[in-house]
Symmetry: C2
Subunit: 562 residues, 2 copies
């Protein structure tokens, strides 16, 4: 099975760094022209993140997507004036062939799944930028657009396609590779673009895809235009959107400077976040610190701070840590989160984020925090929150405890006599940070007692001690000092002993009660099927479709339906 892929060992142990910037891009060209930016995919064939494959035909691997993710982030923060982004190919004869097949074939199961999760999150970020940052993505399909390439187009608000003999859109994964489109393609087809299910069925079994008028008639793209007029047509769509944005007419933006991080042995340290790994126990102990200073006086002050503005710095650090742990520390199955510092200061920042929510930068910071918290929700790791004296689980930081699978709050004092732990709600707990299911963490938590959310709104700003937090349903367990160490230790040890796979499936099922959205359907429904298929011998076995792809051989499928 894929667990034992020969290349999976050493190569996968090399640390993947998600930090980059445009000066280091090898695969994307980012240019800005007034209100409109262009992001052109021009993959360097020999620029794969791992040895063993060439990125032909503008196919991508994780490295290509890390750059895309960085570009999307920078456009939001560094280019407030940009109201629309044209996504296209920088190559003459191909738009994008999707995820690289040889890369997939040589990757371990976990790598494939984690890769798909990250690319999914990045596609969601494109849609969120369009809808909430008012930086709309439009796509110019200027050559064959297959698989993950079409999924990238599907994330855009408008898809224009060249009407020539060469250009089509396709999802050839099922007929060609015996896997599913891994980045939301099936769900976006029928749920976002609402393509009729029987047409979607036909389309998804067609290696060569669909071109021209039929692609428009079936809703696969929004328009087809002669190749010579494609740029002009897409620019017009971008200009329409840019004209409607509420983003500032001009910069300057906030420079996202290189994120300071030290990785030494078992310790990963940022300015506000540190993480201690106990690999043998499978635990990452994450500590988030409150801001050292009071918030600035106004939005101008926040802009002056740039990426040193605490909530932005926090989002960047947590985001990088989550990506790092997911990709580089897959045997660390339990993240234990603590906080430390002044809850008053955290609350003051929340008030700032609330008071200035119409400022473009504050909006971006809030959206970034939202995305980062969502990334935690969909991570295949257990999350425990430990709420102890000296902690500051208030408002935005309380979301970390609400995102946790369980929380333990120490009831009373320790021998050191420090004041008992308290948690505190702020206005931001009531709408700023919805989960992928569209609900706040509080609303998801209290689906069975919706009145509880209203009650809690009346308690914003008040310290809740362990007894109050427990009776309000905000924490799971509240041992006292005598029981704390044993109870927490036993919980952690027990968790580490369970099957990681069963925990992943269980957590994915329990975290997202209530309604479903495009995002939640992709993460749960589609990803789970994809995970299953990625394990099946028909796809990933020694004679599976991924292995024989390009060899001229045919897979000999086990024909039994499951």
């Amino acid at each position: 099975m894929s667990e034992s892929k020969p290349d999976a060992g050493a190569a996968d142990r090399a640390i993947v760094d998600f930090r980059t910037d445009p000066s280091r891009y090898r695969h994307w060209k980012l240019s800005v022209d007034g209100r409109i930016a262009t992001l052109a995919l021009d993959v360097s064939e020999d620029g794969g993140l791992r040895p063993g494959y060439e990125l032909k035909l503008n196919s991508y691997d994780l490295g290509v997507d890390i750059e895309l993710y960085d570009a999307i982030q920078r456009l939001r923060f560094e280019h407030p004036e940009v109201g629309a982004v044209v996504l296209t190919s920088g190559k003459e004869r191909v738009f994008c062939a999707g995820a690289n097949i040889r890369m997939l074939n040589q990757s371990a199961h976990g790598w494939k799944v984690n890769f798909c999760k990250f690319t999914n999150e990045t596609r969601n970020a494109i849609e969120e930028a369009t809808a909430e940052s008012r930086q709309a993505y439009v796509c110019a399909v200027n050559g064959p657009c297959a698989g993950g390439g079409y999924e990238l187009a599907l994330a855009c608000d408008w898809i224009a396609m060249a009407d020539d003999g060469n250009t089509s859109v396709s999802l050839p994964e099922v007929p060609l590779l015996a896997v599913l489109p891994g980045t939301g393609g099936l769900t976006r087809l029928v749920d976002k673009r609402r393509v009729r299910r029987d047409r979607a069925d036909f389309f998804c079994t067609l290696e060569e895809g669909i071109k021209g008028k039929r692609a428009v008639e079936w809703g696969l793209v929004d328009e087809v235009v002669p190749r010579t007029r494609l740029d002009e047509a897409v620019r017009a769509r971008a200009a329409e959107r840019a004209a409607q944005t509420d983003r500032p007419a001009a910069g300057p933006g906030i420079a996202l400077t290189p994120l300071a991080r030290t990785v030494e042995g078992n310790r990963i340290a940022y300015r506000h976040v540190t993480c201690e790994l106990s690999r043998e126990r499978g635990i990452a102990e994450i500590l988030v610190r409150a801001p050292a200073d009071a918030p600035p006086a106004d939005a101008t002050g926040a802009r002056a701070l740039g990426d040193a503005f605490w909530p932005l710095a926090l989002a960047r650090e947590l985001d990088d840590l989550v990506l790092h742990l997911r990709t580089n520390e897959d045997a660390v199955g339990l993240w234990v989160i603590r906080t430390m510092g002044s809850a008053d200061r955290v609350e003051a920042y929340d008030r700032f984020l609330e008071a200035h929510e119409s400022d473009w930068l504050v909006r971006e910071v809030r959206l970034y925090l939202k995305r980062t918290l969502k990334r935690i929700d969909v991570s295949s790791r257990t999350v425990f929150a430990l709420i102890e004296p000296g902690s500051c689980f208030a408002g935005t930081l309380l979301e970390l405890a609400l995102a946790a699978d369980r929380s333990y709050m120490l009831d009373g004092t320790r021998e050191d006599g420090a004041a008992p732990a308290a948690i505190r709600l702020t206005r931001l707990n009531f709408g700023a940070y919805p989960m992928v299911n569209g609900l706040t963490r509080l609303a998801s938590r209290f689906l069975g007692a919706p009145g509880q959310v209203d009650d809690l709104e009346g308690r914003i700003g008040r310290d809740l001690d362990a007894a109050a937090a427990a009776s309000a349903g905000l924490v799971t367990f509240t041992p006292d000092d005598i029981d704390w160490d044993d109870e927490v230790r036993v919980a952690i040890e027990a968790r580490a002993a369970f099957s990681p796979d069963a925990l992943t499936g269980m957590e994915a099922s329990l975290r997202f009660a209530g309604p479903e959205t495009l995002e939640s359907k992709i993460f749960a429904r589609l990803s789970a099927w994809q995970n299953w298929i990625f394990q099946r011998p028909n796809a990933a076995g020694p004679k599976g479709a991924l292995a024989v792809y390009g060899t001229g051989q045919r897979s000999d499928f086990d024909r039994r339906r499951v």
Copy 2:
């Protein structure tokens, strides 16, 4: 992997028959006392469907669930007077230990998945009986109630539990077996009973489960009562519900006589439905015939016909065929559905089902048709509908074409000069048969053009030829006589060449656009995760948790999170 389980071969090839009746039950005791029925689980240890395991502790296998399914059906049809059903254990010291572990361990992957699907459908049938047949299920938990046992309780409208030292509810799958509860337990916990996610997390990692007041406080059960008062308490709950039912106060009901079926070589024949298998091509050709006679004059006439009433006979035959094909013909991946006969007659029956919908029997027949159509939707088989001259895809039978992944409709006549094919809508296409996502097949189909459903309502009762059906979006392709044979043949051959696993994931993703319900979340989200976990070495490998269960050994898990 589980594909190569030693017992999987010969045992799994023995034909499973879903037809049974109370005189043949080995595991359930069904009794009726006025408005209240009791269904008591008393599993015969040596009554397993397959050799190799003993059904200890009231654990179950597919055979036990086939009897439960039969009992639920008979209660609806044979006992119109029953308004409430008490589900309990017939054993002194245990309620139910869930699915039998040794059975799971010796089963092939496909068997496990198919078993879980059927048990899920049966739990859904309990909930539907409660809500729509007004035959409410209440549960008396009179002993340890673990895993699938608790999932059975979760399907009931009320769970009363004995308050003694012995009785608890638990979902020990994750800690004990490294798999998920396979019959909707996780989703029912947080989505149906709305148990808080952190409590659910704790509960699902607790081998010993939860008993007494905490079980009520957490919402795991509805009440706990002293063991000596359990029967009385549950009977009171049942009586409350029976008093509110709109079912008739007295019988007689409709006897579900033994379903006539012949299985000879490649042919399965019922009265109105036949199926020809081409195992080497992986195809089942299913033919559904219109009723031979006009509908009865009134509901009394339908009752007089009993299970010979065409819509009821049709539902039973299709239901049995689907279950038979799923379980016994897993290498037949494509179901090709045709119809034959008078569309006028089919429409006349639909009018009958519409005119008499308040009659208890007609309601049951409609619900049965709904469940059977839903079973097709969630089957992991490709479904094609072929609409040819002489066919009768009208109303209820048109749902078969709407349930298909694709439909082909012959445009015009053949050489024989028979009248061109037509399809016809009836009122029943607009609400009688919702899918698991809560929408009609028409509404699901036209999510992208909701006005289309309203337009179609104006065309009820009219014949739509191929051109009209295509322009109304009701069929996928409309080849003429010249192209028909080749186009259909190529489509069938191409389908048979794709990976069965990839098709299963693709179909599950494309069929259910739009909203999600408890049912759809269980079938898609939960089942897909379960399928994945059932493939993982940590659960199903030679040293996985299922294999070492009961041996005293511990699994040595691959600790990497995926």
